[in-house]
C-alpha cells in the first residue's frame, strides 16, 4: 500500500473573482519524485504557497504527513524542506548562511551544515566567499542545501532550473535524483519544461487553469502510446526489417536514433566536469 505524504483534495483559491486553483486534487506518495507540470500561470506556485502555508486556501483539504488540521499541518511543515531561489544573505558565505538557517530551524547539531554542504558539493574554498559573488548555479545549490537542513522527509522545489546554464541544469537534476535515491526524500518539483521533468520524475500531475487534470506515471505514457520501439545497430537495420517482415510483423516507422543536444554539448566542451 502506498504511503501518501501529501494529500490535497478539492483545494480552491481565488483572488477576488479570479479563480487560481479550482478543485485541485493530488496525492504524493512517500519516495516519489512528483513532477507538477503546467504552463506559467497554471497555478503551480499558488499550490506550493498553500502547501507551505505562505497563502491560505479558500476551501478544500490539505494534509501533510497525515496531519488532520491546520495546526498539525503547521507542525508537519517542519519536515518539509523547500527551495526558493535567492533565499540567502548576500554578505554571508555559504557556511554562514546555512548556520543562520540551521539556528532558525532549531537544529543544534553544527555538523548538519557540513553534511548538506557535502551533499550539494559546496564544501570547497570557492564557497567561502560572500554569496553575492556566487554563480547562479552555486546559489541554486546553496538553496537546495538550505532545504536539506534537518533531514526533511519532503522537499519542495519550485522551478529549480530557471535561469541555469546547461551545466547548472545537469547538476541540479543529478542532485535531485541523488537526494531522492540516497537520502530517501520525497520530492515535489514544479516546472513548465516538460522534457526536464520527464527526465527526473516518476509521477506527474498535469495542472492547467487551476485544475490538476490528471496524475500520470511513466507506465501511463507507455500504455498510451501502444507502441514499443526496438533499437538496433545501423548495420543490422536491413536484416531486422527482413526478419520482422518474415514473421508477419508490421513496421509502423523507423527513426534514426541521435544523441541528445545535452550529450553533444558536454562532448564538445570536453566532459561534464569541464562545463
Amino acid at each position: 500500500m502506498s504511503d501518501v505524504v501529501i494529500a490535497i483534495e478539492g483545494l480552491k483559491k481565488s483572488y477576488g473573482r479570479h479563480v487560481v486553483l479550482e478543485d485541485v486534487t493530488m496525492h504524493v506518495n512517500r519516495g516519489d519524485i512528483y513532477g507538477l507540470i503546467g504552463k506559467n500561470g497554471a497555478g503551480k506556485t499558488t499550490l506550493f504557497k498553500n502547501l507551505l502555508g505562505l497563502s491560505a486556501f479558500d476551501a478544500g483539504r490539505l494534509s501533510i504527513l497525515g496531519a488532520q488540521n491546520a495546526y498539525e499541518n503547521n507542525l508537519a511543515r517542519r519536515k518539509i524542506g523547500f527551495f526558493i531561489s535567492h533565499s540567502q544573505y548576500g554578505y554571508l558565505n555559504a557556511r554562514q548562511n546555512l548556520h543562520y538557517f540551521r539556528k532558525v530551524k532549531g537544529i543544534r547539531d553544527k555538523k548538519e551544515v557540513d553534511r548538506v554542504l557535502e551533499i550539494v558539493g559546496l564544501n570547497t574554498k570557492a564557497a567561502e566567499v560572500p554569496v553575492d559573488r556566487f554563480s547562479m548555479g552555486m546559489k541554486q545549490r546553496l538553496g537546495i542545501a538550505n532545504a536539506l537542513l534537518g533531514k526533511p522527509e519532503i522537499l519542495v522545489f519550485d522551478e529549480p532550473i530557471n535561469g541555469l546554464d546547461p551545466q547548472g541544469i545537469h547538476d541540479v537534476r543529478s542532485l535531485i535524483e541523488r537526494i531522492n535515491r540516497e537520502e530517501g526524500v520525497t520530492i515535489v518539483i514544479s516546472s513548465h519544461i516538460l522534457s526536464e521533468l520527464e527526465h527526473t520524475a516518476n509521477r506527474f500531475g498535469i495542472i492547467h487553469n487551476g485544475r490538476v487534470l490528471k496524475e500520470l506515471t511513466p507506465e501511463d505514457f507507455r500504455t498510451a502510446d501502444k507502441i514499443t520501439s526496438l533499437k538496433v545497430a545501423d548495420r543490422d537495420v536491413d536484416r531486422a526489417r527482413q526478419l520482422l517482415a518474415d514473421a508477419g510483423i508490421e513496421i509502423l516507422g523507423t527513426e534514426q536514433a541521435r544523441s541528445s543536444l545535452e550529450e553533444n554539448y558536454f562532448e564538445l566542451i570536453g566532459g561534464e566536469e569541464n562545463a
Binding site: 504557497k49 507551505l52 491560505a56 517542519r78 532558525v104
Partner: protein
C-alpha cells in the same frame, strides 16, 4: 522564537556596513564630548543667554545626534526588515512552520535588543573615553547618555509605526520612507501647523503634543528637567500607543497577507 532572534542578532553582528555605521556614530558622540570640553563656541553662536561651555556643548551634541537616525536608526531598520524581505528568510521561517505572529514579535524583539546594544555600547564608549583620557566631559557625558537612550526609544517607536507599512505592502522600502519622514520630523512639523487652526488655538489644544515626536519631546523635557514622574507617564504612553499598538496592528494586517516566493 528564541532561535529566530538569536540567529538574526548573530547575523546582524556580522554585517560590516551595520558595524561601520555604529562606529561612525560612536566617533561622532565622542568627538562631540571632546569638542564641548576643549573648544567652547563663542556665546553668540549658541544664541543662549547663559553663555560659556554649556550652550556650546548643546550645539556639539545636537550635531552629533543629528546623524543618529542615519547611523543607527536606518542601519537597524535595514539590517532587520530590509534584509529579511530581500533574503526571503521570512518565507523560509514561515514555510518551516513558524507563525507570522511569532515572526513579527521576533523581529520586534531584535530591534529592541539592537537598540539596547547600541545604547549600552555608546554608554560604555563615552565612559571609557572619559576614564581613558582623564578628561571629564562633565555635563556633556550626562547629556549624551540621556540623549542616546531617548533617541533609541524614539527609533523603536518610529520603527514600530513604519512596520504597518512594511508588512502591509511587503515592501520595506515604503516603510523606510515613512520611517525617515518620522525621523526627520516632517509629520510633526505639519501637525504643528494644525495647532494654529483657530478652533485648537482658541481652546488651547496642542495636537502636536500627542503625536509620536511630541510625546518623545515631552519625555525628553521631563528627563532633562528632572521630572521623572512626567517622563514615566510620557514614556508609557509612547510605549503603548506608538510601540505596542503598531506592532499588534502589523500582526493583524500581515496574518492575512500572501507571501511571494
Amino acid at each position: 522564537m528564541r532561535n529566530c532572534i538569536m540567529a538574526d542578532i548573530r547575523r546582524v553582528q556580522k554585517k560590516r556596513s551595520f558595524l561601520i555605521c555604529l562606529a561612525i556614530e560612536a566617533a561622532l558622540l565622542v568627538l562631540a564630548g571632546l569638542l564641548a570640553y576643549a573648544v567652547p563656541l563663542p556665546i553668540s553662536m549658541t544664541g543662549s543667554e547663559k553663555g560659556g561651555t554649556a550652550p556650546s556643548m548643546e550645539i556639539y551634541i545636537m550635531i552629533a545626534f543629528f546623524f543618529y537616525p542615519l547611523f543607527v536608526g536606518i542601519p537597524i531598520f535595514s539590517a532587520i526588515y530590509s534584509d529579511d524581505f530581500k533574503s526571503r528568510s521570512m518565507q523560509t521561517a514561515i514555510g518551516f512552520g513558524i507563525t507570522r505572529r511569532k515572526l513579527i514579535w521576533a523581529r520586534f524583539f531584535e530591534v529592541l535588543i539592537l537598540a539596547l546594544e547600541t545604547a549600552v555600547l555608546f554608554t560604555a564608549i563615552v565612559y571609557a573615553v572619559d576614564l581613558w583620557t582623564g578628561i571629564s566631559f562633565g555635563d556633556a557625558t550626562d547629556m549624551i547618555l540621556k540623549q542616546v537612550w531617548i533617541k533609541d526609544f524614539e527609533i523603536i517607536g518610529f520603527l514600530s509605526i513604519s512596520l504597518i507599512i512594511v508588512y502591509g505592502t511587503q515592501k520595506p522600502g515604503s516603510g523606510m520612507v515613512l520611517y525617515i519622514l518620522l525621523l526627520m520630523g516632517v509629520f510633526s512639523a505639519l501637525i504643528t501647523l494644525a495647532d494654529m487652526i483657530p478652533f485648537f488655538s482658541r481652546n488651547h489644544i496642542k495636537i502636536s503634543e500627542y503625536v509620536p515626536s511630541g510625546v518623545v519631546s515631552t519625555m525628553q523635557k521631563a528627563i532633562f528637567g528632572d521630572d521623572p514622574g512626567k517622563a514615566v507617564i510620557a514614556g508609557l504612553c509612547f510605549t503603548v500607543f506608538y510601540i505596542l499598538l503598531p506592532v499588534i496592528l502589523s500582526i493583524r494586517i500581515f496574518e492575512k497577507k500572501e507571501l511571494d516566493f
